[in-house]
């Protein structure tokens, strides 16, 4: 009888059916950021996470609610505040979406249970002290606007991830993604990767490449 019970309960300490964790990716959606967008996808997937972005949320009246739900469902979030310049197209305006979503994330994570984490990335050191001084005292990760820099900061941020790929392995995943971008855009009839179908396809492709190149 006790033996049967032991079999039913399973071995203590054994893992249950663990769900992979998601990372909310808050980045600017413009053509100049395309390389870093692919770099972030490659890095997050190489580290064993699933990237989520507001690209997935359709434009509707309840968009803000859906964005909140999306952020709430992600355990971690990455915010790139490097695009602080004015837009080229008239009227010239800065993008407020990223700081807004960062504020939303901080509020949501404060309200929810512990164990959630958010990180801020920037291209230039000390600039955020001027652009968003409320973050003084918070560690900001500087990637220098380079692909390798993004890989480096992602490795630093997710130091506790189970999968520990090297920068070279992340670069190999990025390379596969870069080669696959042309046919993916062609198949979707798009000229930019900043839309939901292309983003999803790129994530699945990068994930398979990471499985092959880095291993589980």
């Amino acid at each position: 009888m006790p033996r049967r019970r032991a079999r039913r309960r399973g071995r203590p300490g054994r893992r249950s059916d663990a769900r992979p964790e998601s990372v909310f990716l808050n980045i600017p959606y413009d053509s100049q950021f395309e390389n870093l967008f692919l770099a972030y996808i490659s890095a997050i997937i190489s580290l064993g996470f699933v990237p989520r972005a507001t690209l997935e949320v359709p434009f509707s009246r309840r968009r803000l609610d859906r964005i909140s739900d999306l952020i709430g469902n992600c355990r971690y979030s990455l915010h790139d505040l490097s695009r602080v310049q004015l837009d080229r197209t008239a009227p010239a305006t800065p993008r407020f979406n990223m700081p807004f979503e960062l504020g939303l994330t901080v509020g949501l994570y404060k309200a929810k249970e512990r164990g959630r984490a958010w990180a801020v990335c920037e291209a230039r050191a000390h600039r955020i002290q001027k652009s968003l001084s409320d973050l003084n005292g918070t560690d900001v990760y500087i990637h220098g606007g380079t692909i390798q820099g993004v890989f480096r900061v992602c490795r630093e941020i997710f130091v506790g991830s189970k999968r520990r790929p090297s920068v070279q392995q992340m670069m190999a995943v990025y390379r596969v993604l870069r080669i696959g971008l042309g046919p993916t855009l062609h198949a979707a009839g798009q000229d930019s990767p900043f839309n939901a179908p292309v983003f999803r396809d790129l994530c699945v492709m990068a994930s398979f490449a990471a499985d092959r190149l880095i291993g589980l």
Binding site: P20, K112, E113, G115, G160, K162, I179, H186, R212
Partner: protein, 152 residues
């Protein structure tokens, strides 16, 4: 946030800081800790797992170390997981995986000395590679010419 340590000697301060830290035994169950730290604490571990097991499997020094750094005890996401989370259908995921398999083969061939071209009509990538035998012949001809020149 209260900092909890299971190994007070490692901290050197008996595991107590600011008078609010409580020590946790290494055989405390995850289920018990979830009542204090929320349902997502040690996500991926069963409730009857001991704290020591969680710390060992996540390479954490102590509970405070575990809480400070985002650690993922579960397995890394596979391509199927990613497709499921993002709502990509199985058929679509299969097609994408096959595309990547082809691309990775092409990438390998390119590294071996081939050249990759993108077709204008389909957008697909095609590799053109000089065959090994031709390359060898060229090399040997060049070598022979050099030798004959030397003889002269």
């Amino acid at each position: 946030m209260s900092i909890v340590s299971i190994n007070p000697r490692r901290n050197g301060d008996n595991g107590f800081r600011d008078g609010e830290i409580r020590r946790k035994r290494s055989d405390t169950l995850v289920g018990t800790l979830r009542r204090e730290f929320g349902e997502k604490f040690a996500n991926g571990f069963r409730g009857d797992t001991k704290l020591a097991t969680v710390l060992r499997e996540t390479d954490s020094q102590s509970l405070s170390d575990y809480l400070r750094h985002p650690r993922v005890p579960g397995r890394p996401a596979t391509a199927r997981d990613t497709a499921r989370v993002l709502g990509v259908s199985d058929a679509r995921a299969e097609r994408l995986i096959n595309t990547v398999k082809r691309e990775m083969k092409l990438d390998d061939r390119q590294r071996d000395g081939g050249t990759v071209y993108q077709q204008a009509d389909t957008g697909a990538f095609v590799t053109k590679k000089m065959s090994g035998s031709t390359h060898a012949k060229t090399k040997s001809t060049k070598a022979r010419t050099t030798r004959s020149k030397k003889r002269r």
